[in-house]
């Protein structure tokens, strides 16, 4: 079972897509995630599994290729980094409206604008709070290791097709670029035409004579139907929030203070916990694995267990902190600490922030 390799996060993501039996990748190069399309092009997955790889003329075109191929029942993926993801927002909101399953990775870099090619977590709002227009959500998975870059491809596709929703793998430049050991899954076969037609009757695969034609659209000019459609989407989001919220707790059992951090920040936080515990402080880590849905109930449970304060640790000026504060709802202290511009916090400065902002004198 599985194969042990040393790989970059971006490469692990690409390899996992081939092994999952994905049908296509449509992308456009942008630092720090160009390894995804380079690896796929080098691997020639069309020879291995029949998987299509295409470099599109733009991120806009790539996400619209995803829209169409996903709407035709295929497992398709794209990836980009922050400025490119901004361009993809048009397609992402259409995907939400038309309920098309797909997976895309955002290997986040610093902004705003062209910003920097260094790692960042400043696109939490974009991924979790909308990004495009309209009332919608997408499932947001936050990998904290190269292993999770690979694992979340399969999880992302499974969730995407179960709920007919986009799954965003919200990574960052550090996780995408760093090399680690990764256990890759065995190769799965791609689905056949018969399997796709049987499993996804909504997909536009060519309608059978005597059966209604399928229409994939996000448009409806009838206000009553459009309201119903929006209500239906909200019901779906509610169900996902109830069933699919994922998180990891590290040393939270006896914790009085908890760092909330995902991705690269969660890696730093683990070292901070060691440093803090060595000084006798009872610090734990809550690592959201799904950023949307956010693990609100996990924070509530920690407060009920006696946690007095939360430090939202982010490579941003303070985005996830809003969800941490909403979860605390005044019942516990919640503060933000972050570095930006491509700088990654040191475990020591995080501990200092914890002492100063949360624990106090």
């Amino acid at each position: 079972m599985g194969e042990l390799k040393l790989m970059k996060g971006n490469e692990a993501l690409a390899e996992a897509a081939i092994r999952y039996g994905a049908d296509a990748y449509f992308g456009y190069p942008i630092t720090p995630q160009s390894e995804v399309i380079e690896y796929l092009s080098e691997q020639n997955p069309y020879e291995r599994t029949g998987m299509v790889v295409l470099q599109a003329e733009s991120e806009v075109a790539a996400i619209n290729m995803i829209y169409a191929a996903g709407a035709a029942g295929k497992r398709v993926m794209t990836s980009s980094s922050s400025p490119g993801i901004s361009l993809k927002q048009e397609g992402i909101t259409y995907i939400a409206g038309a309920e098309i399953p797909c997976v895309y990775a955002d290997v986040v870099r610093g902004g705003p604008g062209l910003g920097t090619i260094q790692p960042s977590q400043a696109d939490y709002f974009q991924a979790c709070k909308g990004g495009g227009h309209g009332d919608y959500h997408q499932i947001v998975l936050a990998p904290a290791s190269v292993q999770e870059m690979a694992d979340f491809v399969a999880l992302g596709f499974d969730l995407a097709f179960q709920y007919r929703i986009a799954t965003c793998i919200l990574s960052d430049g550090a996780i995408g670029q760093m090399m680690e050991k990764v256990v890759l899954p065995d190769q799965k076969p791609r689905m056949t035409e018969e399997e796709i037609k049987a499993k996804y009757p909504w997909a536009t695969t060519g309608r059978k004579r005597g059966t209604p034609h399928r229409i994939i659209t996000s448009l409806d000019l009838d206000s009553n139907r459009m309201e119903q459609h929006n209500r239906h989407l909200q019901e779906k989001y509610k169900e996902i929030a109830e069933k699919e919220t994922r998180f990891e707790e590290i040393q939270c059992d006896d914790a009085e203070y908890v760092i909330v951090a995902y991705g690269s920040s969660a890696r730093i936080a683990q070292k901070t916990i060691q440093l803090g515990r060595a000084e006798g402080m009872k610090i734990g880590l809550l690592r959201p694995i799904t950023l949307w849905p956010f693990p609100t109930k996990a924070i509530e449970a920690l407060i009920a267990k006696g946690v007095k304060g939360f430090l939202s640790l982010e490579l941003s000026c303070g985005q996830m902190i809003e969800d941490v504060k909403l979860a605390c709802n005044g019942r516990a202290k919640a503060e933000h600490f972050g570095r930006v511009g491509g700088i990654i916090h040191t475990p020591e400065e995080v501990l200092e922030a914890m002492k100063k902002q949360i624990i106090g004198e």
């Binding site: 599109a56 038309a98 536009t204």
Partner: protein, 269 residues
């Protein structure tokens, strides 16, 4: 002697024409006199005659034909504005055994979707593109399109489209010859310009559209691109009859009819 009623005439033995089975009973929202209805009918007839309705996936644009998916009894996807060629690429690459076509207007294909158009054509995607050019934005109420003629009045060129000012500084730009442009690309197999304003033109147009689908069915590589010079009597602010006359007198000198490229070879005229 009693008068002959409509019911007396509508009898099976008098049948000379019927609606394609692949057009739904949904009532067209198109303005009376508009060319879209005729183009829809031709496409439906062609798909029916070729027997490819179980393999065909259509892509609707943003524009007047945004709800084309309601009128064709085949699977359909609605694209974001201008992105239809990217959608067609996405489908055709993962379902090479299906027949994929886009249906787009001039604003969709030649303004906001220019990049998608050029690159799908340049890659030589094995798809069919139907391009209805009436030189104006219809759905949004008659604004300038990339194909609007010089001097033509629209809601955003109320004094007439003026490509440049007198001293040569740029203004509204020139009518975009997008069909000529895509014909220059090595990825286009068949490029033609048609019209539907009279019976003869409808017949020619149908032949061209049929070929554009047949090429794809036969797995002949390359884009099949059919422009249809059409009217917009509502936004041209003319009667349907006058609009068709105006089309012949003004549109056709700029957008002359006929095949432009066949089997990857440009046709010299």
């Amino acid at each position: 002697m009693s008068e002959i009623t409509l019911q007396d005439i509508i009898q099976p033995e008098n049948l000379v024409y019927e609606k394609s089975k692949l057009l739904t009973d949904k009532r067209f929202h198109y303005c009376p006199g508009c060319g879209h209805g005729t183009v829809h009918r031709i496409i439906a007839e062609v798909i029916e005659e070729l027997g490819i309705d179980e393999e065909t996936i259509g892509i609707a644009p943003v524009g007047c034909a945004v709800m084309a998916y309601d009128y064709f009894d085949v699977d359909f996807q609605e694209a974001a504005h201008g992105r239809a060629p990217a959608l067609a690429t996405g489908i055709k690459r993962v379902w090479p055994n299906k027949v994929v076509f886009t249906y787009q207007g001039d604003g969709d294909l030649a303004a906001i979707g220019t990049a998608e158009t050029i690159h799908a054509c340049n890659r030589g995607e094995n798809i069919t593109m139907i391009f209805v050019n009436n030189g104006i934005y219809g759905m949004t109420g008659g604004q300038m399109a990339p194909t609007t003629l010089e001097g033509m009045k629209t809601a955003t060129t109320p004094y007439g489209r003026k490509p440049q000012w007198e001293d040569g500084t740029p203004n509204n730009g020139f009518p975009l010859q997008i069909t000529k442009l895509v014909a220059q690309l090595p990825g286009t197999r068949f490029v033609t310009r048609q019209a539907v304003y009279d019976a003869a033109k409808v017949r020619n147009c149908k032949k061209a559209i049929k070929k554009a689908f047949q090429n794809q069915m036969e797995n002949k590589n390359g884009v099949n691109f059919v422009e249809i010079v059409s009217n917009c009597n509502s936004n041209w602010k003319m009667s349907a009859v006058d609009a068709n006359k105006w089309l012949q007198e003004n549109m056709l000198p700029v957008y002359p009819l006929g095949d432009i490229k066949d089997n990857f070879e440009l046709i010299n005229k």
